[in-house]
Each structure stands twice: as C-alpha cells, then as structure tokens.
C-alpha cells in the first residue's frame, strides 16, 4: 500500500513535469493524455452541498477514439446497468450513451462519436419539465430527479441530442448507486455518484487517452487548457446551449 502511494506520487510528479514540458511542444502534438492522467477532480466533503464554483465538463478527442466510443458506451452500461432490458422494443431501449456514425455526403468522409447528454448550460429539457424533475445541479450536471418524474417524456422531445430514454418495463437488481425504474426518464448524469466521491466518470476512465474531464470554470484546469489550445466543438452549436461536453476532431 505504502509502496503504491510512493509510485503514485512519483507518477503524478513525472506527469506534471511532462505537462510542463508539453506546453513547449503544443504545436506538434495534442497533449490530451498528459492532462487527463492528472485526474484533477477533488473530492467534495460528503456533507457539503455542491456549488456553482465548478462546472463539470469534458472534451472528447474523436480522432483518438479508435472504436468510435464503443468502449465508453460499454463502460456506461456496466456502471449504470442499462441495456439489458428484455421486453422493450429496440426503439424503446435505454440509451444513456450511444455511438453515432457521421458521414459527409460529399466526400464520404466518415467518423463515429459517442453522444450522450451534453449537459447544456441552458438545457431545453429543464425548461419544459412540468414537475421540476429534469434539473440542472449547481455544478452544471443535468439529470433527472426520478423521485418527482411523472414520466411524461416531454424532456425527451425537447432534447436536441436525443440523449434521454424512458424505462418501459419493470426492473430488478439495479445498481445501488444508480437507481432506475419503470415510468421514469433517464439519461447520462455524468456519473454524479462518482464525481461526488472525487472519481472520474466511468466513460472517461474507459478512454483515458481520448477524454479530458474537469472544471470548465477554472481557466487553469486541464480541460480548459486543452480547449484553449485545440478548441472544442459543440454539436449543434447553432442552438446556443453552451454544452458541457465538447468534441475535438468532428
């Protein structure tokens, strides 16, 4: 254990050195992996409410996702236990996250990217919810408060990213950290239970070289720095939603 701590300390130290060194050569290469390895998400004290001091977000480098994000989706399934609904038709199945293939009609250039809740600053799903169940947490995470969700699915209609799905059938043996049940809408919640513990979301862990996760409010955070360097595109930027999930290479 102690030995591991030492290694971890050394690794972090070397990583930070690497980060400093990489700043000099930013023109030649993209430094996503260096930054993401830092894992700079600090644990909030469990008894303190979240504040708007931070806004969580991530930058996904699509060019580094060799599988188009399938591993990220698989990690999400594993973490939250969705995707094995037995009685739902294919069109009704849960999709907290999915791989979307995009092809340019003119050039036939094609790539895939994982699409999940984009955690908008101004979420349309929150605007339309009649009960307040679709909500944005103070730290920018958009989620469904299933305790007061009545299953009207208005948010599913409002979401421009088709990020939400509805549970059509009774479920059993859900994950203790991720309750989900019939009659409620669900979507990516950026693994709130992990973030509150200071851990990275499951999909970020599954693709450490391609995704940087961090605080968008902090200009010095790895994710902010990476976006400053390479830019981060929003899907449907024309809607002006200021999404928390950004992409590079689309």
């Amino acid at each position: 254990m102690n030995q591991n701590r030492v290694y971890e300390y050394r690794r972090n130290f070397i990583m930070s050195l690497g980060g400093v060194a990489a700043v000099g050569v930013i023109g030649s290469g993209f430094v996503l992996q260096t930054a993401s390895a830092a894992g700079e998400i600090a644990a909030k004290p469990a008894d303190q409410p979240v504040t708007n001091a931070k806004r969580w977000g991530m930058l996904i480098d699509v060019t580094k996702l060799t599988d188009g994000g399938a591993a990220m989706v698989a990690a999400c399934k594993q973490e939250h236990g969705w995707g094995d609904e037995m009685h739902s038709a294919d069109a009704q199945k849960a999709h907290w996250s999915r791989v979307v293939k995009v092809t340019d009609k003119l050039t036939q250039n094609s790539f895939s990217l994982p699409v999940m809740c984009q955690h908008c600053e101004k979420p349309p799903c929150v605007d339309v919810c009649p009960t307040g169940a679709s909500m944005k947490r103070a730290d920018g995470i958009v989620q469904v408060n299933k305790h007061i969700c009545i299953g009207c699915r208005y948010c599913m209609m409002a979401c421009p990213y088709k990020a939400r799905s509805f549970v059509h059938e009774p479920l059993q043996d859900q994950k203790p950290h991720s309750p989900r049940g019939m009659g409620t809408v669900e979507s990516c919640n950026m693994c709130v239970h992990r973030i509150d513990e200071g851990r990275l979301p499951a999909c970020v862990e599954a693709a450490p070289d391609a995704v940087i996760f961090g605080d968008l409010n902090d200009p010095n955070s790895a994710v902010s720095q990476a976006m400053k360097t390479v830019g981060g595109k929003q899907i449907r930027a024309d809607l002006g939603l200021n999404t928390g999930v950004r992409y590079h290479g689309i």
């Binding site: 909030k44 469990a46 008894d47 303190q48 409410p49 979240v50 037995m86 009685h87 909500m135 947490r137 103070a138 730290d139 989620q143 408060n145 299933k146 305790h147 059938e169 009774p170 479920l171 059993q172 043996d173 859900q174 994950k175 203790p176 950290h177 309750p179 989900r180 049940g181 019939m182 009659g183 409620t184 709130v192 239970h193 509150d196 513990e197």
Partner: protein, 173 residues
C-alpha cells in the same frame, strides 16, 4: 347531537381496538430472536423508536439532499439501510427481493399494510460483487427481528405480500 357524537366516538374506538387486536396477531417478542437486533440497534443511526416512526421522513429529506445537492453521507441513506439490514439471499440461497416475506422492509410493511415504492427503482438488496465490504453487520440471515420469527409465526398471506410489494408483471421473469 351528543348521542351522535358519542356514537361516532364509540365507532372510532372500536375501529382502533380492532386495529390493536390486529397488531396482536403479529409475532410476539418471545417468538422472535431479538437478541441480535437489540444488540445491534444501538449501532443504528437513530434509536429504534425514532427509526420506526420517522424513517420515511428521514429518507424523504435525505433523497432530496442527495439528488439535488449531492450530499452523500451514509446517515439516513437508503443504500446504507439496505447494506446493513438486508441479506442478499434467502436462506435457501435464492436471491432475496422485496416481494419476499424475509425482506427486512417487507416484514413490517406487510404487517401495517403499507406499500413500498422505493424498490421499483432502488436496489432492494446489497450487491456484494459491487462492494464486497458492504456493512452486513445486522444481517437478516444471522437472525434479525422477523426473519427467524416469521417462519415460526403465522406467515403473511400471499394477498398481504402482494398488497405491499405489488411486483409489476414481468419483474419476476
């Protein structure tokens, strides 16, 4: 007028008495192996009488604090109730769910005829594969309030269990 009032009062008293008599049919303390439970009750987050009368309020308050504000303390957390009080399997080794009479929550909720909605979404038993160190200290399999006693006492009828749990169709498949 007075007679009307008194007759109403009498009816109410009778109804209450019937209710009490109904409670009398519940397993007596002597039938139940309460030693473990009593020893462990001091480790619970609140005194037993507070938990019995107020657990729903505590859980209601806690759920909003958790979902909206991200306060994830173990105090009054449903997950911790389950971890501590519910066994993962029945005594014959099959998975234990809230529709079963051995389930910690169901034992009481059957007796008072109160439906539980929590477990339509929440996990109704600890997941050892997720967390091998779950706090299974009280452990119904080790002899808790009703799990030992209920087998000896009159078991709740199928209708009673259905009323409480109401497993949705397809859940058992």
């Amino acid at each position: 007028m007075t007679s009307k009032l008194s007759s109403v009062f009498l009816a109410a008293t009778l109804a209450f008495a019937t209710l009490l008599a109904g409670c009398g049919k519940a397993p007596m303390e002597a039938d139940l192996n309460l030693a473990t439970a009593k020893a462990k009750s001091e480790q619970c987050v609140e005194p037993e009488n507070v938990i019995r009368t107020k657990h729903m309020d505590l859980l209601m308050h806690k759920r909003d604090a958790t979902v909206i504000e991200g306060i994830r303390t173990t105090q009054h957390s449903l997950k911790e109730c389950i971890n501590c009080h519910v066994s993962t399997t029945k005594q014959d080794g099959t998975p234990l769910h809230y529709g079963d009479k051995e389930h910690f929550c169901t034992t009481c909720h059957v007796a008072v005829g109160q439906k539980i909605d929590c477990f339509q979404c929440h996990a109704d038993r600890p997941q050892i594969d997720q967390d091998p160190n779950y706090q299974h200290t009280v452990g119904s399999a080790a002899g808790h309030h009703f799990t030992q006693g209920v087998t000896a006492a009159a078991a709740p009828t199928v209708a009673e269990i259905k009323m409480v749990a109401q497993p949705q169709q397809g859940a058992a498949k």
